[in-house]
Amino acid sequence: MPLFPSTSAWPWLVPCAAALIACGSGSTGGELVEFDVIAKGQATTTPTHEYRFTNDQGWRISLSEASLQIGAVYLNEQMPLPGGPFDSCTKSGLYVGEMTQALLVNALDPGAQRFPVKGQGLSIPAHSAELWLKDDRTALDAQGAAPSVHCHGTAQRHGHSIEFSARVSIGANRQLAQTEPNRPGANPVCRQRIVGPIAANFAPSSGGRLEITIDPAEWLRQTDFSTLPGYADGAFLEFPDDASTQASDSLFRGIKNTSASYHLEWSIP
């Protein structure tokens, strides 16, 4: 007696093959992407490689050095919500891109300065970005503070001229005073390291490039150098590394100015 009736196996194989093909098609949506991240600064316009501009306080500034250490870059699908509910140092939205290796960026170099590794992300539209500033441990000062931002230059107004230097570190010196006793954690110092949310509107894609353009002129947009300690014509002034003067406070606010100091673009080379 035959084990199976004398029927062809083909009618069985057809649906099986169809099912096999169907199971192997489709996707779960989105994809992982790798992309380059570069930062670039502003072009200098003088033979001595200085970047000249006039700020809102009437100072004609010539920057000869401007750098900042970017510790990480993050892209988030969440829209920027200024004035929204309390935002901790990490957002609740989905992070769709990140660069977690630091780069010391020369903000006076318009050329592409590439981060050391590729960024990782998802092909999901990003609507905001954050730059996490990091201490430059290679530039410790006498007190052991490591600056995240360093700038040097000259400023002139009303016939007065000064030379200045600023080393901006971010630690307890940037801790905002707690004004509400029942909200002791409303201003965590980690937020002082974060420049964001910066507006973004692009979807990361493999092979693409995230370009961060930094304009150090915006750091000093509201700075009144005359508020620096020891101000005098021809003096060399160092910014206090805190918010004790209008100059140092406005510099730090300028560094964290998300709308003008930084511009993000997505490009596909």
Binding site: T28, G29, E31, Y95, V96, G185
Partner: protein, 858 residues
């Protein structure tokens, strides 16, 4: 609150079964009686023959589910000499086992052996008369040399003709639910028990479509994938052992969490796996399907099994099957310990199982089951793939050696079942106590954001510690009536399940390093009740047509006390408020309130189910099934507006089953197409990076399964293909495998060597698993998974030696792969984008086993 404290009146538990299989019953299409494969004639004692002593010895013979003679007792004695001769002969007989709906069972038959004194000129062996030998039985084959009786001389007395009235067969098993079509698997483990399996959960793989994973360690429940469902730790699969529910309602780790590790694999006689909700008997959690473990021990006597092997693994197993009792009467105990195959993978567990089955008159039986289980284990958890690729962490290492847990489970159940000529009644009562502690860390340092009302802090760590303890008390029962109409059997059954669960659960978050609890996230006491009623009809309008269908109604009620109801405040009170405390006592607006909330909810649903079976036609039967299923809501998500049951689904399938017995080959093959639609479910969301409530999903697929067995070979192979998609986007559901294949193979036979004139038996067995690449979020795919496990044994009774090798080819594979954000300090800055994680599969392991069986026969 409605009084949910169910007082389950004990319908004490006795009973069992018994079918007095007189010829009329023997013609029932669902029961096959045992048949003789090999008969050895009794040797007429020379003295008795010389003195003309004869008579009839009536023996009560227990035939195991493997067809071997288990116990032989004398029911009616002739003389001691003749009794011994009859027993000696019958012990060497071989049978095809009794079956019910295709599932092999142990059975008891009464065998009269007639010793007719030879005439004075015929002093020769007499013959035994087997009175129930059917015409299709093969002729008796000679036994092996060691057991061959003297050749019958020419002219030996002829066998008396079969005498039907002398047949008395008792099929010893509880009644089996009627078959629901091609996705209804009554899997007899049988010789496939030889295939290496670490846990009873792996026995599920004898049915098509099961893939098991485990990210939590040896004592953690297996994550189960079935036919396109991620049933997680049982939340979408109704699991039971001899009818006693295993799913834990209200377990905060997962509603329906089902830890199968308490079942000792050697005590599993069979499983009934029904893929899809097609039987009105299926209740809560039967979303992907259901599986019922049926316990039994074919091996009689006292068995001691010791296993030792790789990674300092040791296992001591004691089995006891008392002689003269059914295979459902047994005791088993297990101790196990291992250092594990990598960092932080050690475990220690102990388990006991005891069951007694007794007869209750001629037509009833009772059964009591008691189990105890405890485990303490470490867990390696998950690894970030990028860390392993960078060489910062080894493939078998851990990112946090704090992970692990412990668990225990105690069960007491009693059941009675009685049969009348036209009905079967069954009642079961069960009590289960379970507890567990679970320590996990999936995300490193990611989920502790600074809240404004907290003192300033950095990320303190994402260690999660859960403590859960609960008690289940419940009962189930049914009454089934059958009658004859149009000369065909018609059936009707009504039944119920009632269970109440009282569960306490807490979840704390602990710091990295010192593991200091800093936040209580959950503190819940839930009292839930579930009453399910069903009615099922089985109609046979014609010999070739069976209609089965019915309704199931489910009622769920909840009374939840949440002691940590408020997790955040928007406007804290200006004084007397500690933002770092847990379980706040203020509302979001700052008003004072107790931190507790009591929530009640209820829901009910009616679930129709039906099956049409056509055939058999030349061994074929075609079936089509349709049904609705449901899963209750997790008590931690209950609110007065909750929809419960949370998930409702509609499933359908069409398939064909082919079953034939040819000579000594038993063959079953089936093919089935299925479709399941779930109205909403928890699935992984790529936009949230975690499981979230999603819209509807649909699964369409095909399965095929073949089981073929002879006296020496048993093969079971399955293949399942499935496509799971979201209804709204058409995207594939991540994580669930689309291709699962499993083959189990066992070969055993008597070897041609007879040391000291004793029988030497050998066996080889293996299991091959292939799981195709699984879809992962963001269009990623996991690696395919292929493993081979093998074992070989030599048995020289009473000793058996074995060699077990798992992952024979030593393939390095990832048992589970996941995509989500975590931050384990792998980069200088926080890692916040979802990344690939995995749990490592075990490398090649080698074990030696020594088994000693005394006082019984296998």
């Amino acid at each position: 609150m409605r009084c949910l404290s169910l007082t389950y009146h004990a319908l004490a538990g006795l009973l069992l079964l018994s079918i007095a299989a007189r010829p009329a019953a023997a013609q029932s299409p669902s029961v096959e009686l045992p048949r003789v494969l090999e008969r050895v004639p009794a040797e007429y004692p020379a003295d008795a023959a010389a003195h003309g002593v004869g008579g009839t010895v009536e023996l009560r013979v227990t035939v195991g589910a493997d067809g071997r003679v288990d116990q032989v007792t004398v029911e009616r004695s002739a003389t001691a000499e003749l009794d011994d001769a009859a027993i000696a002969a019958v012990r060497r007989w071989r049978f095809t086992p009794a079956t019910r709906d295709g599932r092999a069972l142990a059975s008891v038959i009464r065998v009269p052996i007639v010793f007719e004194p030879p005439k004075s000129d015929q002093l020769a062996p007499a013959t035994a008369a087997l009175t129930n030998e059917p015409p299709a039985s093969p002729p008796p084959s000679p036994a092996g040399p060691a057991t061959r009786p003297p050749a019958e001389p020419t002219g030996a007395p002829a066998l008396p003709p079969p005498h039907e009235d002398e047949l008395q067969v008792t099929v010893r098993s509880h009644s089996v639910p009627p078959n629901r079509g091609s996705s209804d698997f009554n899997v007899h483990v049988g010789e496939l028990a030889r295939v290496p399996r670490r846990t009873a959960a792996e026995l599920l793989q004898l049915a098509p479509g099961f893939h098991l994973s485990n990210e939590g360690g040896d004592g953690h429940a297996q994550q189960i994938f079935l036919r396109g469902f991620d049933a997680r730790e049982g939340q979408d699969l109704e699991l039971s052992v001899d009818g006693v529910p295993i799913n834990q309602v209200g377990n905060i780790h997962g509603n329906g969490y089902a830890d199968l590790n308490f079942i000792i694999p050697e005590t599993v006689e069979s499983l009934r796996v029904l893929e899809g909700p097609f039987d009105p008997r299926q209740g809560n959690f039967a979303v992907a399907g259901s599986a019922d473990y049926q316990l039994g021990l074919a091996r009689r006597g006292v068995t001691t099994k010791y296993t030792r092997g790789s990674f300092q693994t040791e296992r001591l197993l004691l089995l006891y099957g008392p002689g003269g009792e059914s295979t459902h009467t047994f005791g088993a105990a297990e101790l196990y310990r291992t250092n594990g195959f990598g960092q932080n993978r050690s475990s220690r567990r102990g388990s006991i199982l005891g069951q007694y089955e007794g007869e209750l008159g001629r037509n009833g039986s009772w059964r009591v089951l008691a189990t105890g289980y405890t485990v303490d284990y470490a867990s390696a958890g998950v690894l970030r793939d990028d860390l392993v690729r960078a060489g910062k962490v080894g493939f078998f290492d851990t990112l946090d050696d704090w992970q692990g847990g412990n668990a225990e489970r105690w069960t007491l159940a009693g059941q009675i079942e009685s049969h009348t000529t036209a009905a079967v009644f069954s009642q079961q009562l069960f009590v289960v106590r379970h507890a567990m502690e679970l320590r996990e860390n999936f995300t490193g340092q990611l989920l502790d954001p600074q809240e404004p009302f907290q003192l300033p802090h950095t990320q303190r760590g994402d260690r999660i510690e859960k403590r859960i303890a609960g008690t289940t008390i419940g009962a189930r029962g049914f009454g089934r009536w059958h009658g004859i109409a149009h000369e065909l059997k018609q059936e009707f059954e009504v039944g119920y399940l009632a269970r109440g669960d009282l569960v306490d659960g807490t979840q704390d978050r602990l710091t990295s390093g010192a593991a200091v609890p800093y936040r209580r996230e959950l503190d819940l006491t839930s009292r839930t009740a579930n009453i399910g009623l069903y009615a099922d009809v089985g109609l046979h309008p014609a010999k070739w047509l069976t209609l089965r269908g019915g309704l199931r109604g489910e009622l769920f009620t909840y009374d939840v006390l949440d002691r940590c109801a408020a997790q955040s405040v928007r406007f804290a009170a200006t004084a007397g408020f500690n933002g770092d405390s847990s379980c706040f006592s203020q509302t979001p607006d700052g008003d004072y309130r107790l931190p507790t909330a009591s929530i009640q909810a209820s829901g009910a649903t009616i679930l129709p189910r039906g099956t049409v079976i056509l055939g058999p036609v030349r061994g074929f039967s075609f079936s089509a099934s349709w049904g609705k299923g449901a899963r209750s809501i997790d008590p931690q998500y209950v609110n007065p507006l909750s929809r419960t049951p949370l998930v409702e689904l509609t499933a359908m399938e069409g398939g064909v089953l082919y079953a034939r017995t040819l000579d000594k080959l038993q063959l079953t093959a089936r093919s089935s197409f299925f479709r399941t639609h779930v109205d909403r479910d928890y699935v992984f969301s790529q936009t949230a990076g975690r499981n979230t409530l999603a819209n509807g999903t649909t699964r369409v697929g095909w399965l095929g399964a073949v089981r073929a067995g002879t006296r020496t070979v048993d093969v079971n192979t399955t293949l399942t293909l499935v496509r799971s998609t979201f209804d709204d986007t058409g995207l594939l559901v991540p994580y669930v495998p689309s291709l699962v294949s499993r083959t189990d193979l066992s070969w055993h036979r008597d070897l041609p060597w007879h040391p000291n004139h004793r029988l030497l038996q050998g066996s080889l067995a293996g299991g091959f698993t292939y799981v195709g690449p699984r879809e992962l979020p963001y269009s990623q795919r996991s690696e395919a998974l292929a493993t081979v496990d093998a074992t070989g044994t030599l048995e020289l009774a009473p000793l058996e030696l074995g060699l077990v090798v798992t992952n024979l080819l030593d393939r390095r594979y990832k048992q589970g792969e996941y995509f989500y954000p975590s931050d384990f300090g792998s980069q200088s800055a926080a890692t916040l984008v979802p990344a690939r994680h995995f749990t490592a599969g075990a490398p090649r392991t080698i074990f030696l086993t020594a088994t000693l069986t005394l006082g019984g026969e296998s």
